[in-house]
């Protein structure tokens, strides 16, 4: 296993076998420790120790066969990982230990709480028991009382009954007696008429009667007393009923208390069971700890197995790659050989030693350069060809243009030739005509000369001259008018025009017919419209008498409708009022309501009110404005600010007053103004005495006051100004 190793695979398998054996060992040791475990914590520590003891074995087993450094590194890494795992596990162990402690503390707390609860419930049970006893005692007492009362009641009732029956009997007897006595009395009375002696008897009888009556009265009073007693007994019965009800309530309470006692018992039993349950819990916890340990160990081992399996897979993959590389190597060698052959073939003057890819590359590069040069040359040549082609095209276009011009020129030439011919012909005709006319003229002239002084010749000559002039004009016209050049197709034109005119005529005739038909149709329509009551709005006015029966009828109808509506409203209100139960002044009430309900009237009045208010406001504004203006003007003109106060008081403040408080108060009293005393008026008592006391004139007082104040103020002002001037100087 250690030294003789030929294969990697076998080596890995051996490692695996080793691991398995180790695993088994650890498992067995774990089991051993389980049996001898004292507490979960100790067992964990022990297992850790065991693992440590295991690890050097493993290291030896892994380290010894290593030949490559890579594997040694791997194993070292594994070792480090394992140590880290161990550390983490230790930490976990600690946390678990802490958890356990915490849970123990919690358990104890819970236990104490439960015990406390039990004590409490015991106390309550005792209390409830005491109460139960009391209630039972009360109940028995009440029952006894009740029984006694019932008995008493019954006895009293019986007594009463017997007593009443006796009384009734007595009463009857007495009544019988009374009747018999009265009968006797009547008899005696009858007899007394005849006999006086019977009077005495009668008196006696009367006395007995009185005594009897007294007896009856006593009996009736007794009866009343008895009845009162009966009433008291009835009251007692009612009390008894209430007592019974209370007993029932107490019984219910008793039942509930018994139930609570049952509950307490059940809780007690549970408490008894608690200790055993605690023991069980401890044992179960221990078991759980053991199982947890086992689970952890198995997890560790499984992890290790998984890592080893992944390693194995990697190795297999590497092997496959190696195979592929070998095969590719063979293929590439073949290719190399072919390349060398190619090189040899291409580069003839090359020995086998020189046959390297560099040389081939150099050769290829040379070829590429040559190719590039050739391509450049080709491009240049192509550009020159394109240029030449362009030039050719331009030349061709020029040629075409020249040809077109040539054709146009020849055409013009032909036309010109034709016109020249025509003109020559015309010229010929004209010359011919001219010659003719000259001849004519000559002949006329000859005639003139021959005839000489014949009468009226002058006029004739004049006429002829006019004719000649006319001919000349005509000639000019002919020479100038271009329409005379083509006098050949005149006839055709005439025919065409005629045809056209004929067509137009036909069209017009058709149109005329259509329009006529339309006109007739429209006339019919107008007639129909006229029948329907249509008329020309522009040329007519529709008038009617204002007071016509129709409008009167409409108005009458409207009035009636309004009246009817009003009446309906009234009646509705009446019905409402009747439903509300108003019977007094029904019509008056209804009228009032209708008036109040007349919403239209109300709205109208509201609108009026609004407008009135607006008007009022405007008036107020205007008044304010005007009064302000008035006051301002008074202020500026008379030098006094006049404030109207309550109770017909007026406050006058001078324009020149030193302070705002310097004012005079006047009161209007039955048409006369009275000056009231103010702090300011005290200061001008002299003035008041002079102007009011002697002169009896308020305006004079005011004006003198103004002058006084003005002079004072202006003095101050001048003093100020002089002071200022002096300061400036």
């Amino acid at each position: 296993m250690n030294k003789s190793k030929d294969n990697d695979q076998t080596f890995v398998i051996k490692i695996l076998d080793d691991l398995r054996s180790n695993n088994n060992r650890t498992k067995s040791s774990g089991m051993r420790y389980d049996t001898s475990m004292m507490s979960s914590n100790d067992s964990l520590l022990l297992s850790n120790k065991r693992r440590r003891s295991c690890s050097p074995d493993l290291q030896e087993s892994i380290l010894t066969p290593i030949t490559s450094p890579w594997e040694s590194r791997r194993i070292k890494q594994e070792l480090i990982n394992a140590r880290a795992e161990i550390a983490s596990l230790q930490e976990r162990n600690k946390t678990l230990f802490n958890l356990k402690k915490e849970s123990d503390i919690l358990f104890e707390k819970e236990k104490s709480a439960l015990e406390h609860n039990i004590n409490k419930s015991k106390l309550t049970i005792d209390q409830l028991d005491n109460r139960l006893k009391e209630i039972r005692y009360e109940k028995s007492n009440l029952k006894e009382e009740n029984d006694n009362l019932m008995k008493k009641l019954e006895s009293l009732m019986e007594e009463n009954r017997s007593y009443t029956s006796n009384l009734e009997k007595e009463n009857k007897e007495l009544e019988d007696k009374l009747t018999s006595v009265t009968l006797e009395l009547t008899k005696y009375q009858n007899e007394s008429a005849s006999r006086n002696c019977t009077d005495y008897e009668l008196n006696e009888l009367k006395k007995t009667l009185r005594s009897n009556e007294k007896y009856i009265e006593e009996l009736t009073s007794n009866l009343r007393k008895k009845q009162i007693e009966i009433n008291t007994l009835e009251n007692d019965q009612v009390k008894m009923n209430t007592a019974n009800q209370r007993i029932k309530c107490l019984e219910n309470e008793l039942a509930s208390l018994q139930e609570s006692a049952m509950v307490v018992n059940a809780q007690r039993e549970k408490l008894k069971r608690f200790n055993s349950m605690e023991n069980e819990l401890i044992s179960l916890r221990e078991e759980v700890a053991i199982y947890r340990n086992d689970v952890k160990q198995t997890e560790i081992l499984e992890n290790k197995v998984a890592t080893l399996e992944s390693k194995l897979n990697k190795h297999e993959l590497i092997e496959k790659e190696a195979m592929q590389l070998r095969s590719s190597l063979a293929v590439s060698e073949d290719r190399l050989k072919t390349w060398i052959d190619v090189c040899r073939e291409v580069c003839e003057n090359v020995t086998e030693t020189q046959c390297y890819p560099e040389y081939l590359r150099y050769y290829v590069d040379n070829l590429k350069k040559k190719d590039l040069l050739l391509v450049n040359e080709k491009g240049e040549l192509q550009t020159s060809i394109a240029r030449l082609e362009l030039k050719l095209k331009q030349m061709e276009a020029m040629l075409l243009k020249a040809r077109e011009q040539l054709i146009i020129g020849t055409n013009n030439n032909n036309k010109n030739e034709l016109t020249i011919k025509r003109l020559k012909k015309q010229n010929y005709i004209i010359t011919w005509e001219r010659n003719d006319l000259r001849e004519l003229l000559d002949s006329f002239q000859k005639e003139v000369t021959v005839i000489g002084n014949m009468n009226g010749e002058d006029t004739r000559i004049e006429v002829l001259e006019k004719a000649i002039n006319g001919y000349k004009l005509r000639m000019n016209q002919i020479e100038t008018d271009p329409s005379m050049y083509v006098p050949i197709d005149n006839n055709k034109r005439w025919i065409d025009e005629k045809n056209l005119l004929l067509k137009e005529k036909e069209e017009l005739i058709n149109k005329y017919k259509q329009l006529e038909a339309k006109c007739i149709d429209l006339n019919d329509q107008i007639d129909h419209r006229a029948l329907k009551g249509d008329f020309n709005l522009k040329e007519t006015k529709v008038l009617h008498f204002k007071m016509n029966p129709a409008s009167e009828g409409f108005n009458h109808y409207q009035n009636e409708l309004a009246k009817a509506k009003q009446e309906i409203e009234k009646l509705k209100e009446r019905i409402k009022a009747m439903q509300e139960g108003i019977s007094m002044n029904l019509t008056q009430v209804v009228d009032n309501r209708v008036e109040t309900n007349a919403s239209q009237e109300v709205e109208g009045l509201k609108e009026k009110l609004k407008s009135q208010e607006i008007q009022n406001q405007r008036l107020r504004e205007v008044f304010k404005k005007s009064s302000q203006e008035f006051r301002e003007s008074v202020y500026t003109l008379l030098g006094f600010k006049v404030d109207g106060l309550q109770n017909n008081m007026y406050r006058l403040t001078s324009q020149f007053a030193f302070h705002e408080e310097d004012n005079l108060m006047f009161q209007l009293n039955e048409g006369s103004m009275n000056l009231l005393e103010t702090p300011f008026s005290k200061t001008i008592e002299e003035m008041i005495a002079l102007h009011l006391g002697q002169q009896r004139s308020i305006p004079v007082l005011l004006s003198s006051l103004t002058i006084d104040l003005f002079s004072k103020q202006s003095m101050i002002m001048t003093a100020d100004s002089t002071r200022l001037e002096s300061a400036i100087n």
């Binding site: 007519t540 006015k541 529709v542 008038l543 016509n548 029966p549 409409f554």
Partner: protein, 204 residues
Amino acid sequence: MATKQQSQNAITLKGSAKLVMDYLNFGINSILFQRGIYPPESFKTEEHFGLSILVSTDSKIQQFLQPVLNQMKDWLLEQKIQKMSMVISNVNTKEVMERWDFKLQYEGSGDSNPDSVGNKELTTIQKEIRDVLRQICSTVSFLPLLDCPCAFDLQIYTKPDVDVPQEWSETAPSYIANSQELQLRSFSTSLHRMDTVVSYKADF
């Protein structure tokens, strides 16, 4: 002798206008009676054009008709009237139920010369008027029943340059939706020609 005959056959413009107004008066009265717009008790029979015609004795109607016809006569002499419509409408809804159009055409010379004379005999004119009045009476047989409270109005279609008196006012023309018309006979006084048309609401 010749002049006498001339005067016998002649009819003046005023006479023609009076004839036309008479026709209108009796026509309107007989329509009012025939169509039952006013109670029949308020009508009395009168002899006109050789016909016994029922004329209303209701003072209100007479107070309305007289000034209207007088005014119309004036306008007729001035050749201002184109036509006169008698509109019968429902009082409650103002719906037009029936319309009688009396269309006027001015014959003879175009100008409104008061001295122009016609040459038609009075008897023939009266006969023509009688025929038309008879026809008006006979229309009751086919005109729809007016089963609602109705009132009538007279609308005169004049030329726009007419002077409108104070008691008169302009109004809107009245039309009947879905109407049917019947043209009655026309008569002519050789100065005026009168066409009578009745339009009424079709039942369907």
